[in-house]
Symmetry: C2
Subunit: 596 residues, 2 copies
């Protein structure tokens, strides 16, 4: 069994010392988001996730969700409903939602530590409330007033949950191919018919109603992605006055047997003329979908972060407790039969890899969330616009890197346990299995990479990158002569310069050969992620030095940053070489010769 | 469900065209190992593994092994015993064993394609016969004549299977800590008492007897690894005339619930004064253990290879069938609703990564096995000695790289399936779960890395590396001006030079700071693996060009080699930078500050 302790110390460091988020909240007009309130929220979130959710993690894996063929009902694992009720009672579902809707009106940024903790404690459980946020965002931005009134409050209050019904058996990424149909009815509603798969929390027993946001095509839809419309389709019908009616014509047809997140219900949803309402304009569903996706992508990134942190804590504990062999330089604990694993350099390599990627990712995630707050609440429209461009640029990096690092980190943590890591009772293998979904759903890593280099870079002439590099340059200018920081500034500046040059090189090549974008995309994304983390590590050292934290904490930040620069940042060399090698090494082999 | 087709075409290319193994076998005196015989063996192995073993792979995962608490018996999954019987009838258990023992007397090298196919078809099943080879090797080299007579023939014939009982609950890597005791009895046997864990095939229903090779300590044992002795302890007693007696005092106490290889029985074995016999000299068990370990390590490397190949085949099939989105340069199949995944550069990146690592690994593995044959059978003692040094050097590289690449390759292959890869019915997630054990057992990757840089490099002043580099240099000299090959020769020579320089640099630093060895070990191992594969890819292109194979095959080898040099070999830059950064970035942080 793995344990979990919320990393409040590092969360507070990231929020207050590095990002100065409390000052920012005040500037943005979040008057009630005082340091006292924020601290109380963090403490309560830690208590809830450690005490209520974390012990249910292995339970969920062992029991899984159960599907009843006759009723189409899904039963969640023991304890999941009671935990959800407490989550709702605590007001957590509406933490960052508007008080008008029953929310607590805290900054979006505060959703990041909450969700990191929820995911670390129990990823599978966390998927039940997760997509409500996406549904709320889509309905808020694109829904009619009566839809706001009817759907938003119960979603915010956690009486209902939401889903995103995008994928069909023959199409995931390429939604232009979808076949689900929406026929107009006389009363202004639509009859939705089709099959959706991989619907997270599509059916379950935690709440009284489930609000599906469904992509479908109207009878007059143009072909391809421009013919997609968005509909809100509740499990129990909801009329225009918000009254709950009878069961809608939709049903869970099966749940998937998966590698992990077994406590999470991944549903096949069959819509058989179900009553739904158009959200937004006809054929403009893709736009509404991106609203949902961006929220969900940042949320899935936090799954990688949460799992990484839990994996680290348990690997560290084991590395300190497990006695095995002597240090190469001689016994460190001669009174014990052997030294603990943590004396061994290669075990330290694995631990420091996890630690540096995890604490760095925490800043990547929190920074992106502060930009969402700025984009919504800054007084200056230019500042709002810049924040929006920058968070759009950072979203695919955050999603893909945090999830791939989650896979890597849970890998290393399991490896620290040796053979014991492979055994179910230690719980490390569950973390690795659970992590594996995160690079697949809400857009695979390859899709994030294309989004970054295509829509977020090529299509904007690198607007997002320029904003980020300007921040990096400003930091470098400020700290280049500061004792204790300067050692990071020079290599960081070099990487920033190289990042810009690589970007120009790819975009130039892509004007002639469109495949150059796709061929560079994966390496460009990770290159970007590693340089971004180098920036956050340099800033972390600077912030730690400037703080009144204990020397051990400052040492840990400095030495972890040094490790990161010495042993992780060189991954950029591999990525730079790969993307500079161009598309031909990928495209030359004919498809039929792959097994010649 | 995944499918499997034995890659006979590439196996034959590697064996005959690249390694010219058939000529070598003849030179070594394997007169009956003619091309016809070898081809017939390959064809039969392909048939057996494709038809009998492959369909049982998912069955084994679903059913797992069952343990009966009352009897201590273990029941293997449905079909496993029938398949084992056919394996035995086919003479596969003795393929490379001496005819004196009932074996077929084929070269050790031929065990590699057999085991690659077995592992690809059904890794969990393959673990039942696997460790018999280790037991045979240990008994052959260290056992008394009566032990040869009593144990070897039934092991070779597959009537019995073997195990390696090393690990205990508190010690795996550090066997000096073990607590299992051996008390001398009046009749020259020993009473073995203790608990061993993680015993692969420790108990099962496939054969009539199980021969445990058990590490234990004699009453007068000096402390630490120098006090370990090896004992042979059968499940049913065997007297000095080879007669089977009653049940020995040992019992399976439990089987582990694991992440994967669920069809393989991983047993807790309790020895309660069980009758055993000393193998080799008292307190010299570690030496005998290394005999077993080296065989087993090369065998586990083949598990990574087999899984990689099966993963590739299925990912390739899916990438050709699944229609999703259009190529960035415009529709390639305008008559279809979308293009197949394989048109997309990033999907090709994943496929070519698997293909290049897998075909390269096949040569790494086969080459190592040819060296075992040379070390045993070459007429010239100097040649035998050199082969032994070289295979010792290559063994940790082969084990660690092939298994880590197995993890990576099954990762990419699953990723090619998108969300479907996470669903059990597609079978890709089983391959990923099964692969995860291979970097843990028979010495973790970290232990292989220490073995390579310590015992196999520092302790021998780089003797193995020098032999390998001499081969590389000879190849470079021969081909540096050859059209179609020269493009690989220059970068290969650079890497060979850098490899030697990095080695000198580490060994020099390690004379003052012993931790430098451990700190460089992981990156040194992978650096070595990637350069070794660069050599095998250059040689593959040369061999393909010189052959009369179809142009499509030659194209595939050349373009895959170009991909490897452009996009995989640059990983050496990251590893070189990391190992050159020295030990301080790993050792500076005090153990207690890892969660400061």
């Amino acid at each position: 069994m793995t344990t979990y302790h919320a990393p409040l110390n590092d969360i507070r460091f990231a929020l207050y010392d590095v990002l100065r988020a409390d000052e920012m909240f005040s500037r943005l007009g979040y008057e009630h988001a005082t340091r006292d309130v924020l601290d109380a929220v963090l403490d309560e979130a830690a208590r809830f996730t450690e005490v209520v959710l974390a012990p249910l993690n292995a339970v969920g894996d062992r029991h899984g969700c159960r599907y009843d063929k006759d009723s189409g009902d899904v039963t969640t694992p023991p304890g999941f409903k009671a935990a959800f009720d407490r989550f709702v009672e605590g007001g957590w579902t509406g933490l960052t939602a508007s008080p008008d809707l029953g929310g607590q009106g805290l900054p979006h940024t505060m959703g990041v530590p909450l969700n990191e903790m929820v995911n670390a404690a129990n990823l599978a459980w966390g998927n039940f409330p997760l997509l409500s946020h996406s549904a709320i965002d889509a309905l808020t931005q694109h829904g009619e007033p009566w839809q706001h009134d009817a759907f938003l409050k119960p979603l915010v209050e956690g009486r209902w949950t939401g889903t995103m019904c995008l994928t069909e058996p023959h199409c995931g990424t390429d939604l232009g191919l979808l076949r689900t149909r929406a026929e107009p009815a006389d009363d202004g509603s639509y009859a939705i018919t089709g099959t959706k798969i991989f619907i997270t929390a599509g059916e379950h027993d935690l709440v009284e109603n489930i609000v599906h946001l469904v992509l479908a095509k109207l009878p007059d839809a143009p072909p391809g992605p421009k013919g997609i419309s968005l509909f809100v389709v509740p499990k129990f019908k909801v009329d225009r006055d918000g009254n709950l009616g009878g069961r809608n014509a939709l049903r869970c047809g099966a749940i998937e047997h998966k590698m992990g997140i077994k406590g999470s219900a991944t549903c096949v949803m069959n819509f058989d003329g179900a009553q739904g309402y158009l959200v937004g304009q006809p054929h403009r569903g893709l736009q509404a979908m991106f609203t949902m996706m961006n929220t969900a992508r940042l949320g899935v990134g936090l799954q990688g972060l949460g799992l990484s942190d839990r994996a680290y804590q348990n690997a560290l504990r084991y590395a300190r407790e497990r006695l095995q062999s002597r240090a190469l330089s001689g016994a460190k604990f001669p009174d014990k039969p052997a030294d603990p694993l943590i004396v061994h350099p290669d075990v330290r390599r694995m631990l420091l890899t996890i630690k540096s990627l995890t604490e760095g990712s925490r800043l990547l995630a929190l920074h992106a969330a502060t930009l969402v707050d700025v984009a919504e609440h800054a007084a200056d429209p230019g500042e709002r616009e810049r924040a929006d461009v920058l968070v759009s640029f950072l979203t695919p990096i955050a999603k893909a890197c945090q999830t791939e690092w989650g896979v890597e980190n849970t890998y290393h943590a399991l490896q620290c346990f040796g053979g014991h890591g492979y055994i179910a009772e230690h719980g490390m293998e569950q973390l690795a299995r659970d992590a594996r979904i995160t690079t697949l759903y809400e857009g695979t890593t390859g899709i994030q990479a294309l989004d970054l280099i295509g829509r977020k870079t090529a299509a904007t002439q690198g607007a997002g990158l320029k904003l980020f590099l300007a921040e990096v340059e400003a930091f470098c200018d400020e700290y280049e002569h500061r004792a204790g920081i300067a050692e990071f500034v020079a290599p960081l500046r070099d990487k920033a310069t190289e990042w810009a040059a690589l970007t120009r090189s790819i975009l130039t090549r892509a004007t002639d050969v469109p495949e150059e974008l796709g061929a560079a995309s994966y390496d460009y994304l990770f290159y970007s992620g590693y340089v971004a983390l180098a920036y956050w590590w340099a800033r972390s050292v600077a912030a730690a030095e400037a703080s009144d934290r204990p020397e051990a904490f400052k040492d840990a930040k400095r030495e972890t940053a040094r490790f990161y620069y010495a042993r992780i940042l060189p991954r950029t060399r591999m990525h730079a070489a790969a993307m500079e090698s161009g598309a031909s090494s990928l495209m030359a082999l004919p498809a039929e010769a792959f097994d010649a």
